[in-house]
Each structure stands twice: as C-alpha cells, then as structure tokens.
C-alpha cells in the first residue's frame, strides 16, 4: 500500500524537481528576466488535479527550497506559492472544467498575484527594482502553460493507466 502510494507520487515529485532545475539553469542575461515561473505552474497544475495530496503544505516547503536556491529572503517564495496554491485548491473544481482560454486567463491572474507578493515583500525589505521587470515571467509562464499542462496531462494519464 505504502509503496504503491510512493510509486504514484514519484512522477509528481520528479516534475517538481525538474521545475526547480529549470529555474536554476543558467540563461543568457537578456533571457533571465523572461524565465518562466516553472515551479509555480507545476504546483498549480498538481494542486488543481490532486488537491488532497499536493496542497499548501507541499507548496510552502517547495517555496522554501526556491528561496534557498535563489538566495531571496527566507519565506518570500514560500508565502507567495502557498497563497497561489491555496486559491487553486479552494477553486480546483471550477478551474478544472474551465475551457483552455479561460484557464489560461486564470493562470495569468494567479501568476500576476504571485509576482505581486514577491514585489511587495521586496519593497518592504527595501530591495527596489522597476515594477516592469516583474511582468516578464508572468507573460512567458502564461504562454508556456498550455504546453506544460499537456505534458503533465500525459504523465498523469500514463501513471494512472499503469496502476
């Protein structure tokens, strides 16, 4: 029983690890400010589909890891990610059945909220930067969302058809 559950969780954990690695991967300077929030869209997807297993607690821990990996204030990404995942879990039944256009718009709004929390905490801590710089990841993450969700859907389908 326990090992079966572990086997079902493994693909999702690998997805989160892959998202973390993509976040840390080196990119040229001009592309760096347009790096998609891989971890956020991964967490939103799995929280939406399996809200009982991947909820605010998982998001918070992953956010802490993200804080250490990026060298930001401790708890910043954790708070933002937990908030976004909270909203996702709260409305997962609605979001799940949205058509793709409406779902993408929802994702856009949630990413904007995520970046706003980061912006706000940075502002309070005195790390100033132009607000425009926060929009890059929101746009690219939204653009990547349909592809990422298609890939995750495939992974989920395989895992479920195997068990």
């Amino acid at each position: 029983m326990a090992s079966e559950r572990a086997a079902r969780r493994m693909p999702v954990i690998l997805c989160i690890v892959a998202a973390l690695m993509l976040t840390m991967a080196p990119l040229p300077d001009w592309a760096d400010s347009f790096r998609p929030n891989w971890v956020v869209i991964t967490m939103i997807y799995w929280a939406m589909l399996l809200p009982r297993t991947y909820s605010v607690g998982t998001a918070w821990v992953v956010g802490l890891v993200l804080d250490v990996a990026q060298g930001t204030l401790f708890g910043q990404h954790a708070l933002a990610l937990a908030l976004v995942v909270y909203i996702t879990v709260k409305f997962h039944l609605q979001i799940r059945v949205f058509p793709i256009s409406q779902m993408t718009a929802t994702i856009f709004a949630m990413l904007a909220l995520y970046q706003f929390v980061l912006f706000w905490i940075n502002g309070v801590a005195g790390i100033n930067s132009p607000a425009v710089a926060y929009w890059g990841p929101v746009l690219t993450s939204t653009v990547f969302w349909p592809f990422v969700s298609a890939i995750f859907g495939n992974i989920r389908y395989r895992v479920h058809s195997r068990s």
Partner: protein, 317 residues
Amino acid sequence: MVAANSNSTHRAAHSQALGLRFLLLAALSIALLVVDHRDRHLDTVRKAIGAAVFPLRVIVDAPVSTWNWLAETTATRNELQSENDRLHDERLLTHARLQRFAALEAENARLRAMLEATEVVRNRVRVAEIMSVSANPFRHMLVIDKGSREGVFNGQAMIDAEGVVGQVTQTGLLSSQGLLISDPDHALPVEVNRNGLRTIARGTGAFDQLDLPFLPNNADIQAGDLLVTSGLGGAFPAGYPVAIVDTVIRVPQEPFADVSAVPSAALNQVRELMLVWIENTEYAVPVDNSDTPQDTSAESAEPVAQPNTENQGEAGG
C-alpha cells in the same frame, strides 16, 4: 478523484482546515521573513536546504561544464599552440612586473619599519569556480564551488584577475553564495588611487555601472580615475582595483556630484574567481552589520567619518 464522491459537509470541513493551514503557514512565512531580514539567524536552516539542493545544482551545471570539457579536449593543435604562446608571453610580462614588485615590496617594508608603522597584511588567495549566476534579475548573485569545508567565511572578498567581484554572503558546506558589487544592495568603501579621496561605491543593478553617490560637487575626481578598495569596514582588503570613473556630472544647485564608474572586473563573464583570506588579522567582519562593532583591532586607528565626504556607510548590504 476522492473529492468527487465526498459529501458537502465533508468538503466544507476540508476547506475550513485548508484555510486554517494556509493562515498558519502565512504567519510562519512572515515570521521567517522578519527574522531573516532583521538578523540572519537562519543560517543553519539555509545550509541544510542548500545541501539538499546542491546535487541539483551539479546536474544543472553539468551541460555547461561538459561543453567546456569537450571544447578543451577537442581543441586543435594550432589553437593550443597559439594559446600556449600567448600564455608564455603573458607569463614573461607578469614575471618582469613581479620582479619590480618584489623590490618595491622590500623597499616598502623597510620604509614602514623605519616609520615603525604596522606591517602590511598579507593576503592569501584561492581559486574558486562559479557554478551558477543568480536566477533572479534583482539580485546579482553567484554560487561558487567552495564552502566552509575549504575555510570560506561570510563576508569574504571575491576578486578576479582585473579587480573586485563581490563578497561571500552565504556559506554552505560545499558551495557558497556571493553578492556581486553591482547588486543594488551592495556598497563598498573605495578610495581614489590618485589622491586617496575616500567614498562609497554602490551597485546599480547593471553589470557595467557603479554609482558614487556621496561625493560633493567640489570633490577632486575626474573621468579615468582608478578606484581601489580602501580597506575600511574590514570586509575587503585594501588596495584592490574596483572600478574606473566613467562620467562626472556636476550640477551647481545639487549638493552631490553625479559620478558613475565602470567595474574593472568582468562581472558577467567570470568563470573563475579568487577568494581572499586576510592573514595577520585575528578578526573577520561578517556581512551583516547588526551585531558587529565597526572595527576591533587594526583599523581602529582610522576614523570612519571623513572630513571630505558627507556620508559614510558600511560595506555590504
């Protein structure tokens, strides 16, 4: 799957628990943020998570290092030969310079002995490789492959062949994070090499620009002046080149001149850098300025406030 067949009361209870859990975690995050921002007491937690992330960093860095290794092993004989020639020439040049340096150092030591001044501190350096550069555009940070196991400490200076790169801010066991001098939160005490005018160089967030915000309009500074570390504040050893003054704009009605400088080190191109240990000093000033006195031993003779600069900060963010 499970949610589909749960009844509504069950779901309401679950959603309440969810809200409660979120509020708890949010409160915990804010507590962590405040503690981390006020004073960095979370180093051990960071180190533990950093150790867990370390293998991921190695994997992420693997393609780049493999590419470098491939480029090196498949280099043609001609390329190697020309590089060898170039290095040979460079070595001759630096050797010639070093001979003069040895003589000058001896002379300097003699003169200092005559003046009964303290002996110049000797610096020990060690090469570290850069594993990754910050993934966050608002923080100019990099990760190096040396940690506390090799004796790296918080606040340690990082330099490259051309000048100061930054300082270590977070020491892990096997890797450390460093802040570049171009980070908007970084400031370091410098002096103009030509006349010893002391001031603060602050990062701007651009790799090729530093600001000198605290120079009055009548300060003796001009484009082309070399800025070197002054050694005040204790974080950086004195005498390493930092930047070359680029533009000096004096607006008569403003109290301060608008001075910007170009860093000497190639901040966005370095692949390797050197860590500096200051020897003959028994103190090492950490980055955070909350719990450390400004200076304890060697530097205490030097007053921090300067007569010709209005505003003196401290090194580091």
